[in-house]
């Protein structure tokens, strides 16, 4: 047991991200993803791992919203489509370096997130979730009409005659191969998680925690709840928009790749993964992209089984008091997490004594 001396007490924060153990875990995880996985996995599984890396930003975005502010949005998948759309549209407009394109995608999708977040000023809980689901439906419908840009003229940039159905963004010249672009994506995702961690442990994180406890708590602490709720929507949408940009360069996109129902599945896996811990987002991305492939390719089970499992989870979430079920599902996420953490903790305590 290390006894906390007074100077240690001067640096208190249960939110502090940068404990040595967390930094080491994070760096080790990123290094494994960058160096080890490409050696041991086949090209097929590396494609899946690319998707997991990109989608971890999407689950991160939704996890931030649900876990930090207690806001449920069912409009996360269309945000990804929007990010992809914006990246394509800007690409056909001006020739920009890829990182800049991702940045613009993130910023503009973040603005869209603010628009989607406006109803949150008046609504909460199930009502807000339903409104965001309707917004998701509207965006998805719009997308089937306007399609992804393919170099056409006008604002929408779509040329019917030139349409192949599949839209791909050129990858950065430094990462044209699948493996190289996978690594690029892992690095971008890692940056996204760091940005999220900085937010959570800083002023926004504390303001969000107060909002999550109650509106009254937040206001009486001087928190501008409108500003911080919209900030959460913006950040959530921004990282998701970046993911859209990565997907459109990594595997390409089609118009019907972003069905409305997927937002519900997404919420289910995010809750399953755990929303109070950033690792929950990684776990959620695993559930979303890797787990179905394992069921299908390794166990020969139909993917519908999984959809049904997730579906049952969501129905129970929506039918019951939202906060209570988050707790339940988060505990499930934590339980899964603790299996991984136990050995590590034992090791850690072994060193300390």
């Amino acid at each position: 047991m290390t006894h906390a001396n007074p100077t240690d007490n001067r640096l208190p924060s249960i939110l502090t991200a940068a404990t040595p153990r967390r930094v080491i875990t994070f760096v080790a995880f990123v290094l494994i993803a960058l160096l080890l996985l490409p050696i041991v996995l086949s090209a097929f599984w590396m494609k899946i791992m690319f998707e997991m890396a990109a989608y971890s930003l999407v689950t991160l975005g939704l996890g931030l919203l649900v876990g930090r502010t207690g806001i449920y949005s069912l409009c996360q998948v269309p945000m990804m489509a929007a990010g992809a759309w914006i990246a394509l549209r800007v690409h056909y407009l001006v020739d920009l370096p890829f990182p800049l394109l991702l940045l613009i995608s993130g910023l503009l999708t973040g603005l869209l997130g603010i628009v989607i977040g406006l109803p949150a000023m008046r609504l909460s809980g199930l009502y807000l979730a339903l409104v965001t689901l309707m917004a998701a439906g509207a965006i998805t419908l719009l997308l089937t009409v306007v399609k992804f840009p393919n170099g056409g003229d006008g604002f929408w940039g779509f040329d019917k005659l030139n349409s192949s159905g599949q839209n791909i963004l050129p990858r950065p010249s430094s990462a044209t191969s699948d493996i190289a672009f996978y690594r690029y994506t892992v690095v971008v995702a890692a940056i996204g998680f760091l940005v999220a961690a900085i937010h959570i442990t800083g002023k926004p994180g504390r303001a969000w925690a107060s909002i999550r406890q109650s509106e009254v708590t937040a206001v009486s602490a001087g928190v501008n709840t409108t500003l911080y709720k919209l900030w959460a929507f913006a950040l959530s949408a921004a990282v998701t928009g970046v993911a859209g940009g990565l997907i459109v360069a990594g595997t390409g996109v089609t118009t019907n790749q972003f069905p409305v129902e997927q937002s519900i599945t997404l919420l289910a896996v995010v809750l399953l993964g755990g929303v109070y811990n950033l690792w929950g987002a990684v776990l959620a991305a695993f559930f979303l992209r890797v787990f179905p492939q394992i069921l299908d390719k390794k166990l020969g089970l139909p993917v519908e089984v999984l959809t049904m499992l997730f579906g049952v989870g969501v129905i129970s979430t929506l039918a019951m008091q939202p906060k209570g079920v988050v707790e339940d599902l988060t505990n499930l996420g934590r339980f899964v997490g603790s299996k991984f953490a136990r050995s590590e903790r034992a090791e850690h305590e072994g060193v300390a004594t």
Binding site: S13, V216, V223
Partner: protein, 240 residues
């Protein structure tokens, strides 16, 4: 100085504050009255959670009611809640820091201000602990630290001693007594514990059915037979 002029609050058919008129001038002011007298509703008006039908509240010459709710903290309104509202997921330090960083203070003094406030309420040793792991008395103290950090001007304490054992209440009283001198803020204390009120407050006002029925020096007011009657009507706690 706090000047409350013709304040009236209506919730549908209920009028929890009914033409309240009061001037508070002391550093520590008690506000007492039986259950349902409108004490918490009055605090909610000052915090901006309840919009009154009529009336004005002027504190140190500034009209409070036109200010947006969250901006009142920046102005200097702080409060604790009857059902304690410290944020369970954050540490003691973070709970207090939250107020400090939203009250428009220079960031260079933040850390020192927060530590000073936490030490003032005697939680220096618990500063890094999550509030959710603290006991009821300690959580109350966290709320008090939140209410006094930085530069408060009006500190509203809503039954801070409710549910606390006698010795904890005494300690809390000592802390509350020091707030006006230490911070320059005016304190309004709502509590059913008359011992606490008379130990901490120079002046007291009595609210009954949303109107002030007595106000003045604490000892004089508490000795007033009218006050006793209002209280004994439906609250026997005063006898203790």
């Amino acid at each position: 100085m706090i000047v409350i002029d013709s304040l009236t609050v209506r919730f549908g058919g209920v009028t929890p504050i009914n033409d309240m008129n009061l001037t508070m001038t002391a550093g520590s002011n008690g506000l007492i009255g039986p259950n349902g007298a409108g004490k918490t509703t009055f605090f909610n008006v000052l915090s901006g959670f309840v919009r009154p039908a009529e009336g004005t509240v002027t504190v140190f010459g500034d009209e409070l009611l036109p200010m947006a709710d969250f901006k009142r903290v920046r102005w200097g309104v702080r409060r604790t809640f009857q059902t304690e509202q410290a944020i369970a997921d954050l540490t003691v330090y973070e709970n207090v820091l939250l107020i400090e960083e939203h009250s428009g203070r220079k960031s260079s003094t933040r850390r020192a201000d927060v530590i000073e406030a936490v030490e003032f309420v005697g939680l220096g040793n618990q500063i890094g602990r999550a509030v959710g792991t603290l006991g009821a008395a300690e959580r109350r103290l966290v709320e008090v630290a939140r209410a006094i950090v930085g530069h408060p001007r009006l500190v509203l304490l809503d039954e801070p001693a409710a549910g606390l054992p006698e010795d904890e209440t005494e300690k809390l009283g000592e802390i509350i007594k020091q707030i006006p001198d230490r911070t320059g803020a005016m304190v309004v204390l709502v509590d059913h514990d008359m011992e606490l009120v008379s130990a901490t407050c120079d002046e007291v006002a009595v609210l009954d059915f949303g109107s002030v029925i007595a106000s003045g020096k604490t000892q004089a007011v508490l000795a007033d037979p009218l006050v006793m009657r209002a209280y004994l009507g439906d609250d026997e706690r005063v006898q203790a």
